[in-house]
């Protein structure tokens, strides 16, 4: 994952730098693109340094223990749980503006509670009612705030 983040940071910084360089106009001092240009250069430098460190460490590990680079597969359930949580919580965030906070919570929370903790049905219903009804009521009438 670190390797991917570093590559993405490098590519984005190169794009950011190119965009800033093409838009940088005289006088440079007042141009809003001077800081992005400097910043993108710094990100490129740090990303390259990190990539060098990653490759060096990888080569060192490989030299010390042949076959060490063959990454052990993570526990079987973890990737599915990670993907499931991301899909569920992401879907909740996307659905909230579309169907309203109360309905989105009424769908999200029971699924999440039953999937990730096997919470009992009374607890699931109680928590869903609390978060889906009482929380927006508190927001609307106590904090005088809007609810999506």
């Amino acid at each position: 994952m670190a390797f991917i983040i570093e590559i993405v940071a490098l590519v984005v910084a190169l794009g950011m730098g190119a965009m800033a360089a093409t838009r940088l106009a005289e006088p440079v001092a007042t141009s809003p693109w001077i800081v992005p240009l400097i910043l993108s250069s710094a990100i490129v430098l740090v990303s390259i340094a990190l990539l060098i460190v990653e490759v060096r460490d990888w080569l060192k590990r490989r030299a010390e223990r042949p076959g060490a680079d063959a990454v052990l597969p993570p526990p079987r359930s973890t990737p599915a749980r990670v993907a499931g949580w991301l899909a569920l919580s992401g879907g909740y965030g996307v659905a909230t503006p579309l169907i309203g906070f109360e309905w989105a919570t009424a769908i999200f929370l029971p699924v999440a509670l039953r999937t990730f903790s096997r919470a009992s049905w009374p607890l699931t219903i109680g928590l869903t009612a609390g978060m889906g009804i009482l929380l927006p009521l508190a927001f609307r009438y106590v904090f005088q705030s809007l609810v999506p």
Binding site: A119, F143, S145
Partner: protein
């Protein structure tokens, strides 16, 4: 001297406003919420503050300030409860408390360990607040003397330091901080009015909402981490919470040195309560007699006193650079700054002119909060132990709706929910890649300060040579400090937390 007297009298004059029933109620709610939140192992102080910003957006300004100060102080202390009872620090600032508190709990002295933590946290909080009141006028005078160039360097140092002292290699911390700086550039540039990196997306024109990113990184991502990668702990019974006054008297010097270290470290940009506790704990161990040192790792009250006084003293310390220079002393202080910005309060050297009485109200609020921390801590410490048995699978998904509402409520903007989600997924990726998320938040909050002051400095110094600029005394000092920070972090090569863990293994002395 007159500025200090003014601020002192102003603070005393603000006390009646703090004692108004509704403000006291906000303070108590904040403290109770903070202590309970801090006691829960998977929930950090920054997460508490991030989520509460949305709630405070519609509150009256005094209520919002005192509520958030209560949450801040309460959550820093609350971490010690789970640290003592289940050996899992509720917040990173309670790691040293876990090292000493859990062996005491196993000896049947859990209540005494928590009681000692309550009292020393209260004294630490008060110490930090008094230091805040005394130091702010002095730093305020100095702040008015320094120019844009120096402020830009100070902001940059804050981001670099945040990356250097995180529990990851410095290079990773710096990359995280630089990404935060880059994110802060998105939107309309306030100096020229030109759009940067918006790509025609209307939601980005106003810039990325700091609150939404904060909730994404410290709410959404932390929920995922706690739910998917950490295990539940059993909640044990605790005996009566009692304060061991004789231990506090015996280690009074440790209490004062811990509070002083906590205040100082808190005032250093980006160095929060966790670093303060680590250093104070390490310092107290070094100065201990051989007999006292043998107790470290096996249940030392001296260690708890040092760590707890320091982490709570850092609350006041972290507000010194925040109020005076708009540079937060920690990520929690950065969240507090975000909340104040939503209330229309801009921090910085001009705060006393732009918001007369506000600084004094913050001081008075923190004084009252510090005293009430002791009372509320004593009252709810034991009941809060029951919360430790809530399974993460129940607790964490239930916080998700608060994240969504919190992100939306800050600006009543639907796109902030999407920004929160994207930041959260980014935050999970950062954590999985071993990148600390705190520098990203520091970069984001300090970005506008660095950007605007750098360009202002370029305009001011356009007719001067580079050497003239570089040789300005304060600027030169800042440059030296930045170089030392970079070289020091690269030379040491190991994260601070790792060094402390190596020096103070949990199973006692090697």
């Amino acid at each position: 001297m007159s500025a200090m007297t003014d601020i002192l009298y102003g603070t005393l004059a603000a006390l009646p406003a703090v004692f108004m029933p509704e403000n006291l109620l906000y303070c108590l709610f904040g403290l109770v919420f903070g202590i309970l939140w801090g006691a829960l192992p998977a929930l950090s102080s920054t997460m508490a503050m991030a989520l509460m910003i949305g709630f405070t957006a519609a509150m009256p300004t005094p209520g919002a300030i005192i509520f958030l100060l209560g949450v801040y102080s309460g959550s820093v202390f609350g971490g010690s409860i789970s640290a003592v009872c289940i050996n899992i620090p509720g917040t990173p600032a309670a790691v040293c408390t876990a090292i000493e508190g859990y062996p005491l709990f196993l000896r049947g002295e859990g209540g005494q360990a928590i009681g000692t933590a309550i009292m020393t946290s209260t004294i630490g909080n008060l110490f930090g607040t008094v230091a805040l009141i005394v130091c702010t006028p002095i730093i305020l005078i100095l702040a008015l003397q320094i120019g844009s160039w120096e402020i830009c360097l100070l902001g940059l140092w804050g981001v670099l330091l945040s990356g250097s002292i995180s529990d990851a290699p410095a290079l990773k911390g710096w990359l995280s901080g630089l990404i935060g700086l880059a994110l802060s550039l998105i939107g309309i540039d306030t100096v020229s009015g030109e759009e940067r990196f918006t790509f025609g997306i209307k939601a980005l024109v106003g810039g990325l909402s700091f609150v939404a990113v904060l909730i994404g990184v410290f709410g959404f991502a932390e929920i995922a981490r706690g739910l998917l990668f950490e295990r539940d702990a059993e909640s044990p019974p605790v005996n009566r919470v009692s304060i061991l006054w004789h231990q506090i008297r015996r280690h009074f010097k440790t209490l004062i040195s811990g509070s002083s270290i906590g205040t100082f470290i808190g005032a250093v940009p980006a160095a929060g309560a966790d670093i303060a506790a680590f250093i104070a704990y390490s310092f107290s161990r070094r100065l201990a007699t051989p007999r006292e040192r043998r107790e470290y790792g096996k249940g030392s009250y001296r260690g708890i006193i040092a760590a707890e006084s320091a982490n709570n003293a850092s609350v006041g310390g972290s507000l010194i650079p925040l109020l005076v220079l708009a540079i937060p002393g920690s990520t929690v202080a950065a969240a507090f700054m975000g909340a104040l910005n939503l209330q229309g309060i801009a921090m910085g050297p001009m705060i006393r002119m732009s918001h007369p009485g506000m600084m004094e109200f913050i001081f008075a609020s923190l004084l009252v909060t510090s005293v009430l921390l002791g009372v509320m801590g004593y009252l709810i410490a034991k009941p809060s132990v029951a919360l430790l048995s809530i399974p993460r699978g129940v607790l964490l998904p239930s916080i998700m709706p608060v994240c969504v509402l919190g992100a939306f409520a800050a600006q009543n903007n639907i796109s902030d929910i999407y920004i929160m989600l994207i930041s959260g997924i980014g935050g999970i990726a950062l954590v999985l890649g071993g990148f600390p998320p705190a520098p990203l938040v520091m970069g984001m909050i300090l970005g506008p300060l660095v950007d605007q002051n750098f360009r202002r400095a370029l305009i001011i110094f356009k007719d001067q040579s580079l050497m003239d600029v570089l040789l300005r005394p304060v600027g030169l000092l800042m440059l030296v400090v930045i170089v030392v920070t970079i070289v020091g972090a690269l030379y040491s090569g190991r994260p601070t937390a790792q060094i402390v863990e190596e020096r103070h293994p949990r199973d006692g002395e090697k």
